[in-house]
């Protein structure tokens, strides 16, 4: 209850970053942006399209993990997850 405001702010930040990451994913993986992958070249002998798609994918995983970590640590001691004030 004491750091309610802090908690709320932290939550809002996580939500914003999560949405931002989602947007980055959608933009990079959907046309027209995804056509970057059609550049006819190879990276270390691998087709660029393959490297591009898997790199974006990996990037999303790493980003997601970084976003989830503070949340998980933050919520653990707090007992039941936010019942109070999540933004909507």
């Amino acid at each position: 209850m004491v750091d309610n405001a802090d908690l709320q702010l932290a939550r809002r930040k996580i939500r914003d970053r999560s949405v931002a990451l989602l947007l980055v994913g959608v933009v990079l993986l959907m046309p027209p942006m995804v056509r970057i992958a059609q550049i006819d070249t190879t990276v270390f002998g691998l087709p660029f399209a393959l490297v591009y798609l898997f790199s974006v994918w990996g990037l999303l995983v790493v980003g997601g993990a970084m976003l989830a970590r503070p949340l998980r640590d933050g919520e653990k001691p707090a007992g039941p997850p936010d019942r109070d004030n999540a933004p909507n």
Partner: protein
């Protein structure tokens, strides 16, 4: 070639292992939950049933045919999980708050607990997942045949279906959990998730580094077309497939089951948000290499869907082939088991139970309906697998795996508008949901599902090619002339598009009833309220007894009794049934919803309660007041916790007071005794003096002096009693000044010099150098010293009595020890000696009332020091005055 026997043996062994895992976990969980089994990792692994045999075998086939397109099937879910905060979190929260048992339950709950909607969603779900189950049967059958040979897959498929049904029945319907959670099954599918991941990676490593010579070799001379497939890979189909897979990860009944229903803790979703995409990345990383190596190594015309298996076989790596087979087997079984559980839950909760309850006499106690419920689930599971087998049989099992899976995806995508609209849009109505679902389902069936039979089922080949009655505008795969689309994109655009459109249009045209509006508020604003309480039964008409009968029938005798006892107790009743208040009815409805779904629970409770509903205005009031009520009740909780704390403190204080009171009684009794003793002498002698005239003068003057002495003793006693009371009550504050302890000792010894001389006691001193500064009251310290010293004189019975007074400084403490050679205080008295009126060694026949030491102790404490009894190395006891050293 692997022999049939070995294959069967390994398979049965593997299934037995799954059995054991599920069994042990189920048993253990019931007694004491196993912590790591409730971890976010297990949760994530259970979500990986998304990767079915379609991924295990079909993705390679898809990569071989269409290049990288297969990856869209995993990009959609990745995006959904990465954006979990926005959608998944809300779904999980709603699922937990409203005890949702399935996706049908969620949708029907949201739209006013509508039974018709529940039935509609259930029917669509069953029809949509049937091809999907058939696909699993087909892939296991194919892989089996690849290993052991043989042509007739039908029989194999039948036994596989039967075996899966058996396993699912055994573990999915063993008990009726209020939350529809299956810990044993989840553990088993988590194990399968690991097996299939390891198997696919093993085959990938084998293909890349053993069959081929590393990644360079694999991609040597591979054209961009091979990688990107023919045509425009990043066109509408790419977007559609990503959208479909993103939809499927939410709307597939089995995914809803593992993600929402089986969720144990909300924060597990946070971990799954990146761990599940990572798992899929691991599953797919070797798909392209396997496809490419397979194409270059395997003979032309071999089925690319089975490269994962045929590649190791062609290289005579039987163990690896075995592992690959188990991987595919795992993918298929875990999917089928969960899908069957999810579907059977829906069928029994939303179709069988309502019908059964209608047929059963509503007031008759027919034991309980648990058995009915379990039986209906078992039959549902068998029926669903039967349907899957039938589809396999009818469709001839020849289609490419990916195509079948996509049919199911588009089918369940019909839930998306109602689902998303339901939890984000308050104005969405039941009418809109039904309209959208019906139109979407019809279009899906017409444009995608029925054509998939290639004219063998309902739609003839002629209709598919030229439209019904030859109307080409109505051709299923080019509706109204939209023929420049891929059939899949075409079906999605029509079915999901029209579905969403109808949903929105009909929602805005219709007016929701009261319960719908209430549920809408509870779902859309789920973060604002944690427990959904949406009962609108008017309490007066609900009859406790009937509700109890209902609960017995659904929950079973004992749990129902426990629930009602609990509710009665919460109303402060010792026995009997609780009053049917709103809270009781709502709670009952929630509990029942856990077993049979919200719509059925609501329908039954309403029926028993007389079907009266409160007015819409009242309901809206309730919805708006929910917030206030929650807030108020939270404040009340805090208040009552505070009151409880205060009461606890009062109890403690009261206990202390009681003890103090008993001590005071004891003290008064002692005081009375001590006062009566001198008074006895005074009275007795004064009577003698009054009545007896013949007393000799010598006796007379002796008696008078006794009376005088005893009067003094009385006075002293009273003074002491007052003194100790004031000291202990802290009334008399002592003025503390800085004095030298050695100095105080000298003054005290001077004062009692006369007494020691007359008693013949020798005094020795052993004083620490320098002034020993302490904070004390000079007079009071002298009083304590004199008291202790005179005790040492009085009680010392040694032939050559001697007293040693010693001062010392230890760390920050100053100590004054008074040690006599009279044997000291017996150790057993060393604590009670400070009690009031206790007398040390009474054989010493001394008359001082026992208040000297208690007063000394009280004085010392008032000066922040202490008076204790210590023991010398020679085991004699002595008194020690200790002080905190005062800084100079």
């Amino acid at each position: 070639m692997l022999s049939v026997n070995i294959l069967l043996f390994v398979c049965l062994g593997y299934v037995a292992l799954l059995f054991v895992v599920a069994f042990i976990v189920d048993r253990r969980t019931r007694r004491k939950p196993i912590r790591w089994l409730h971890s976010s990792v297990i949760y994530t692994l259970s979500i990986s049933i998304y990767c079915t045999s379609w991924t295990f075998y079909g993705a390679v086939g898809s990569a071989a045919r269409n290049g990288l397109e297969f990856i869209t099937i995993y990009l959609g879910p990745t995006l959904v999980f990465i954006g979990w905060w926005w959608l998944l979190r809300k779904l999980v929260r709603i699922g937990r708050a409203h005890r949702i048992t399935s996706i049908a339950d969620l949708i029907s709950s949201r739209y006013g607990k509508s039974p018709s909607l529940a039935v509609l969603v259930t029917v669509i779900a069953v029809i949509a997942i049937t091809p999907y189950i058939a696909l699993q049967l087909q892939s296991v059958t194919n892989s089996y045949q690849v290993i052991v040979g043989g042509d007739d897959g039908t029989e194999t498929a039948f036994w596989i279906a039967a075996g899966m049904a058996l396993f699912t029945i055994l573990f999915g319907t063993r008990n009726l959990d209020a939350n529809e959670r299956h810990h044993g099954v989840v553990a088993a599918i988590a194990l399968e998730a690991i097996v299939k991941l390891l198997a696919l990676i093993a085959v990938g490593v084998f293909a890349t580094f053993i069959v081929a010579d590393g990644l360079h070799d694999v991609f040597e001379g591979v054209s961009a077309e091979t990688i990107q497939g023919a045509g425009d890979i990043f066109g509408p189909r790419w977007v559609t497939l990503t959208f479909l897979s993103a939809t499927a990860i939410i709307c597939l009944p089995r995914q809803f089951q593992v993600t929402v229903v089986e969720n144990i803790e909300e924060r597990h979703v946070a971990t799954a948000s990146w761990l599940f995409p990572l798992y899929m990345l691991g599953m797919t990383i070797f798909i392209v290499p396997i496809a490419l190596v397979g194409q270059s190594v395997m003979p032309a015309g071999s089925n690319p869907d089975l490269y994962v298996l045929t590649l190791p076989l062609a290289e005579n790596r039987n163990e690896l082939a075995m592992l690959a087979f188990l991987g595919g087997f795992s993918s298929a079984t875990s999917m089928v088991i969960v899908a069957a559980i999810a579907a059977s839950t829906m069928v029994s909760n939303h179709i069988v139970m309502p019908v059964a309850l209608r047929l059963l006499p509503s007031r008759a106690v027919s034991g309980d309906v648990r058995n009915l419920l379990l039986t209906s689930r078992r039959f549902s599971i068998a029926a669903i697998l039967g349907l899957g087998f039938l589809y396999f049989y009818l469709s001839g099992g020849s289609d490419a795996l990916a195509a079948i899976g996509l049919i199911a995806f588009v089918g369940v995508a019909q839930f998306l508008p109602s689902l998303i609209g339901g939890i984000f849009w308050r104005s969405a109505t039941r009418t809109g949901a039904i309209a959208g679902l019906v139109i979407g389902f019809a279009l899906w069936a017409y444009t995608l599902f029925l054509p998939s039979f290639d004219g063998h089922f309902i739609l003839s080949a002629n209709v598919i090619d030229h439209g019904p009655f030859g109307i080409s505008l109505l051709r299923p795969e080019a509706l109204f002339g939209l023929d420049h689309f891929d059939p899949l994109v075409h079906a999605v655009v029509w079915s999901v598009g029209m579905n969403a459109l109808c949903f929105v249009v009909f929602s805005s045209l219709s007016t929701p009833d009261g319960l719908e509006r209430l549920q809408a508020a509870l779902f859309v604003d789920v973060y604002k309220s944690t427990t959904g309480s949406a009962s609108n039964i008017s309490a007066e008409v609900a009859d406790s007894e009937d509700l109890f009968v209902l609960a017995q029938r659904i929950l079973g005798g004992n749990p129902a009794k426990k629930l009602f006892d609990e509710m009665a107790a919460s109303q402060g009743m010792e026995s009997g049934l609780p009053h049917p208040t709103d809270a009781v009815v709502a709670r009952l409805e929630r509990e029942l919803a856990g077993s049979i779904g919200a719509a059925s629970a609501h329908a039954m409770v309403t029926r028993i309660a007389g079907g009266q509903t409160v007015s819409i205005t009242e309901l809206i009031d309730i919805a708006d007041e929910t917030q206030q009520v929650l807030e108020t009740s939270r404040q009340l909780e805090e208040k009552s916790a505070e009151l409880e704390r205060t009461a606890q403190q009062l109890r403690v204080v009261n206990d202390r007071l009681r003890t103090l009171d008993a001590q005071k009684d004891e003290f008064l009794s002692q005081v009375s005794h001590e006062l009566r003793t001198p008074m006895t002498s005074i009275r007795s002698f004064s009577e003698i003096l009054m009545k007896d005239e013949q007393i000799e003068d010598k006796d007379r003057s002796r008696f008078v002096s006794i009376i005088h002495d005893e009067s003094l003793r009385l006075t002293r006693l009273l003074d002491e009693i007052l003194d100790i009371n004031r000291l202990e009550a802290g009334v008399s504050k002592l003025d503390l000044i800085q004095i030298d302890a050695n100095d105080a000792v000298h003054k005290a010894l001077d004062t009692i010099a006369g007494m020691t001389r007359s008693a013949g006691v020798k005094i020795r001193t052993d004083l620490e150098n320098g002034p020993l500064w302490i904070q004390a009251n000079d007079d009071r310290l002298r009083q304590v010293l004199i008291n202790v010293l005179s005790n040492a004189v009085k009680y010392n019975l040694a032939p050559l009595p001697e007293i040693l007074v010693r001062t010392s400084r230890i760390d920050t403490f100053i100590q004054i020890d008074i040690i006599d050679n009279g044997g000291g205080v017996p150790p057993e008295l060393s604590t009670s000696i400070f009690d009031k009126f206790a007398r040390g060694n009474r054989t010493g026949r001394n008359h001082g009332a026992g208040l000297g030491l208690p007063i000394s102790l009280a004085i010392m404490r008032a000066m922040k020091g202490n008076l204790t009894i210590e023991v010398t190395p020679e085991k004699t006891t002595f008194f020690r005055l200790s002080f905190e050293s005062a800084t100079t």
